[in-house]
Symmetry: C2
Subunit: 261 residues, 2 copies
DNA sequence: CAGTGGTCTAGACCACCTA
DNA sequence: AGGTGGTCTAGACCACTGT
């Protein structure tokens, strides 16, 4: 049974903050392990001798920090943190595509780092270019695109949604329109049709997820996401792919290396 | 006088969410301009015919989104959104240091983009290297460092906290320990003492701010921050500076450009 | 069904700001 | 002093989950 301290009436912090601090401490120390259920509001109310709203206020604070998630009718649970993926800016180097025996980069990386990886919710379809994508691909608005959507999971937990957009004139009719694009992934196929990749740009931001993203990524109320929009360029500096990703922020660390010039 | 709609009892959203939605709409439409004061809790209570806690719950939600900020004893005010800074990975190129007439890069950029920039809360002191910094600078734990802390503001709103760590053997006794490091900033001074900068690495992540950061950056309850830890290397590949920054996510877009190799 | 969290009421007292 | 938001109480009913 979990042991929690008592309120300190000489403490100048209000009771709800003290309760939040005590629970936060229990989580940090591991007395409340990830996935574990917190004492019910009723139990906490009795333990601390306060009104239910006071306990709820404390829990609201922890939810705001993304430390716990409430499940209606079940209880409040300590959130489990997914493993952290470190993404280096050389992760698309050709050497990483070779020798992977046709496995996707994400699966190879997972194997090395010791977690299980999955890709699901794959959707492939044609669409017209929206403003942001058209601008990045330097195509007219409404140009025909091949779109690949998918969701990445680590240890069974969703960590990323990715959507690739490629001009249909490049990707149309190739294995890029197949569920399995073959060894080396879609970048290898793009190079096969004559577009050797030379550089990438990435635009990185962070924000709160939309309700939809929250659902797809199974996120608690206030867990932020990292957004990365990558554009791939070929030797003629033609943009051949835009990849829009939404990543669970706590699961990622992005690494970039650039010259001082 | 602000006109607000009424609750719709047939709507399946709870009253507090409807009230939040009505206020959000008023803000989006400009009926409540940035800096303007919302009707008081008492006024809203009477307007909607609900208990005060219900109105507070709605306002709590808007505060969580960072749309409004409460000021004890004064009222609740619509927050102004800071302008978005786009940070390109060539922003430390030597050419940007030259010709800036001794002005810091941040101020020059602000002038061009048409917003006012300020740096405040400058603190300069000596400290011992903590684990993360020691590792990045490849120094023994506890090595003497020169530390520069400061806060950046755009249009008067805080948008970033930055902390630079430099080995005291490099930065000690130079203008880097002065409030004004002189033309070209601390990087120019580092190069003057024989460490020509050749490359940088950046580690990017996102998370919810700590209570302290929330206060310093004047953030709402659930507004995320971007974290960027930059390490600067000289020609001998010696790490000469670690710069730890915490940025208001909504105010930044980071841009990186890297070869496919 | 009992137990959980979600929402709401109608009060109360306090701390802070402006005047 | 009067108005504002901050915190708290002691109830109430509802919706969801599990047995």
């Amino acid at each position: 049974m979990l042991q929690l301290g008592q309120l300190d009436r000489t403490d100048d912090r209000p009771p709800y903050r003290q309760i939040a601090a005590l629970l936060r401490e229990a989580i940090d120390l591991g007395a409340l392990a990830p996935g574990e259920k917190l004492p019910s509001e009723t139990a906490l109310t009795q333990h601390f001798g306060v009104a239910r709203m006071t306990v709820r206020h404390a829990i609201l604070e922890l939810r705001g920090e993304g430390l716990v998630a409430a499940e209606h009718g079940r209880g409040v649970f300590v959130r489990a943190m997914p493993p952290v993926r470190r993404l280096a800016s050389d992760r698309f180097a050709r050497k990483h595509r070779a020798g992977s025996d046709g496995k996707a980069a994400f699966l190879v990386e997972a194997e090395k780092a010791g977690y299980t990886a999955d890709v699901d919710q794959l959707r492939i379809f044609r669409d017209k270019a929206s403003e942001g994508v058209a601008e990045r691909l330097r195509l007219p608005l409404g140009s025909e695109l091949v779109v690949r959507e998918r969701r990445y999971l680590a240890n069974g937990r969703p960590i990323e949604i990715a959507t690739s957009y490629l001009p249909a004139v490049i990707a149309g009719g190739t294995a890029i329109e197949e569920p399995d694009p073959g060894p080396g992934g879609i970048y290898a196929r793009v190079e096969e049709v004559g577009h050797q990749l030379t550089r990438f740009t990435e635009e990185v931001g962070a924000r709160m997820p939309s309700p939809n993203e929250r659902k797809t990524l199974e996120l608690g109320a206030s867990v932020p996401v990292l957004t990365v929009v990558r554009t791939a360029f070929d030797a003629a500096d033609v943009a051949v792919e835009v990849c829009d990703t939404v990543k669970v922020a706590s699961a990622y660390k992005l690494e970039y290396d650039f010259p001082a010039r």
